[in-house]
C-alpha cells in the first residue's frame, strides 16, 4: 500500500468520524455543516484550479539548477541566508522541494544550509502560501504567521551547526 492511499484513508475516516459526531448532535447540525463545507469547497475550487493548473508553468520557468546553485557548498551564514531565500522561492510541490534539497546535499551543500532550505520551504514557499494558505485562512493571519516564522530557518541552522550531524 502506498503512503498516499493510507493518508487518504485516514483523511476520510476523520471526516466520517467528525460527521458521525455531528449527526449525534442532531440532523440539522449535520446538514448545516455539510452545506457549509460544500460552500467552502465551491468557493475554493477556482482558486485551487488556477494554482494547481498554473503551478506547472511557474515551476517550468524557474530552473532548478538556479536554486541548487544558491545552496552550493558555500557554507556559513551567507549560505543559510541564500538557502532561506531559495526555500521561499521554490515553486511546486513536495517532490520538487525535497529533490532540490537532496541534490544540494549530494552535490556538497552544507547540512545546516540544506536544513535551512527545507525548513524555509516548509514555512513559506511562496506558491503554497498564495495557493493554499491565503484561500483558506484570513490573509491577515497568513502574513502574520509568515513574518513570525522568519527567524526559524536561521534558528534551525544554528541548532544544526551546534549539534552537528549524527
Amino acid at each position: 500500500m502506498n503512503a498516499a492511499l493510507i493518508i487518504d484513508i485516514i483523511l476520510w475516516a476523520s471526516v466520517a468520524a467528525a460527521g458521525f459526531i455531528a449527526l449525534r448532535r442532531g440532523r440539522t447540525v449535520l446538514t448545516m455543516s455539510v452545506r457549509e463545507g460544500t460552500m467552502d469547497f465551491i468557493n475554493i475550487v477556482p482558486r485551487i484550479a488556477l494554482g494547481v493548473i498554473g503551478s506547472g508553468y511557474i515551476a517550468a520557468v524557474i530552473p532548478q539548477e538556479v536554486i541548487t546553485g544558491w545552496l552550493g557548498p558555500d557554507s556559513g551564514w551567507r549560505g543559510v541566508l541564500a538557502a532561506t531565500i531559495a526555500g521561499a522561492a521554490t515553486p511546486g510541490g513536495p517532490v520538487i522541494g525535497f529533490s532540490i534539497g537532496a541534490v544540494a546535499l549530494k552535490s556538497g551543500g552544507g547540512a545546516p544550509q540544506v536544513i535551512a532550505y527545507v525548513i524555509a520551504w516548509a514555512l513559506f514557499a511562496f506558491q503554497r502560501l498564495l495557493l493554499w494558505e491565503i484561500p483558506f485562512m484570513p490573509s491577515r493571519f497568513v502574513w502574520f504567521r509568515a513574518a513570525v516564522s522568519l527567524p526559524f530557518p536561521f534558528l534551525a541552522a544554528a541548532i544544526a551547526m551546534a549539534i552537528g550531524r549524527p
Binding site: A3, V15, P94, A111, F144
Partner: protein
C-alpha cells in the same frame, strides 16, 4: 489571486516561446490530472473543517487554545498539528475553523507550523523516500521545538500589535 493569474500567464507564455504548444499542453495535462486527484481531498478538508467548527464546543477551544491558554495551549496546538491527517487541503481549513471558534493567533501558528514542520504526512510520503531516513529524522528532531517557539513569538508580537485584543 490576480498576482497568481498574471504569474501563471507570463510563465505559460515563456514555456510556449521555449517549448512550443506541445510543451504547454504537456504541462496542462499533467496539472489537470494532479488537480483531479486533489479535488476529493479538498472536499474532505472542507467538510472536516466545517464539522470541527460545528462540533467543538467554543468555550472549550478558547480555554485550551485561546489567548490565555499559555504554554499548554501551544503544546496542544503543536501536537494537534503533528497528527493532523492529509495535506494543505485539510490543514488550512481545519486551522481556519479553530481560529474562528476561539483559538488565538499563537496557538493557530503553532498548529500550522507544526503541521508543515513535523506533520507525519509529508515526512513519510515525501521526505523519507527523497532525503533519506538519517536526514529526515535529524531534521525532525531539530524542528521539534520550533512550533512552540513560533507560537510564543506570535503571541508576544500579537498582544503588542493589538493591545486591545482586536478580533482576529
Amino acid at each position: 489571486m490576480i498576482v497568481i493569474a498574471v504569474l501563471v500567464a507570463v510563465s505559460a507564455v515563456l514555456v510556449w516561446r521555449r517549448d512550443g504548444i506541445n510543451g504547454v499542453l504537456e504541462i496542462l495535462t499533467h496539472d489537470l490530472t494532479l488537480f483531479g486527484g486533489i479535488l476529493p481531498r479538498v472536499l474532505a478538508g472542507c467538510l472536516l473543517g466545517a464539522f470541527i467548527a460545528e462540533i467543538l464546543p467554543h468555550e472549550k477551544v478558547s480555554r485550551s487554545l485561546g489567548p490565555k491558554s499559555g504554554l499548554k495551549g501551544l503544546l496542544i496546538g503543536t501536537a494537534f498539528g503533528a497528527i493532523l491527517p492529509g495535506g494543505p487541503f485539510t490543514a488550512y481549513p481545519v486551522a481556519s475553523a479553530l481560529l474562528a471558534v476561539g483559538a488565538d493567533f499563537g496557538a493557530t501558528i503553532a498548529i500550522v507550523v507544526s503541521w508543515t514542520l513535523i506533520g507525519y504526512g509529508r515526512a513519510v510520503a515525501w521526505e523519507l523516500p527523497i532525503m533519506g531516513t538519517d536526514f529526515t529524522l535529524w531534521r525532525l528532531v531539530i524542528s521539534l521545538p520550533l512550533p512552540v517557539l513560533a507560537g510564543a513569538l506570535g503571541r508576544f508580537v500579537y498582544v503588542r500589535m493589538y493591545p486591545r485584543g482586536a478580533e482576529p
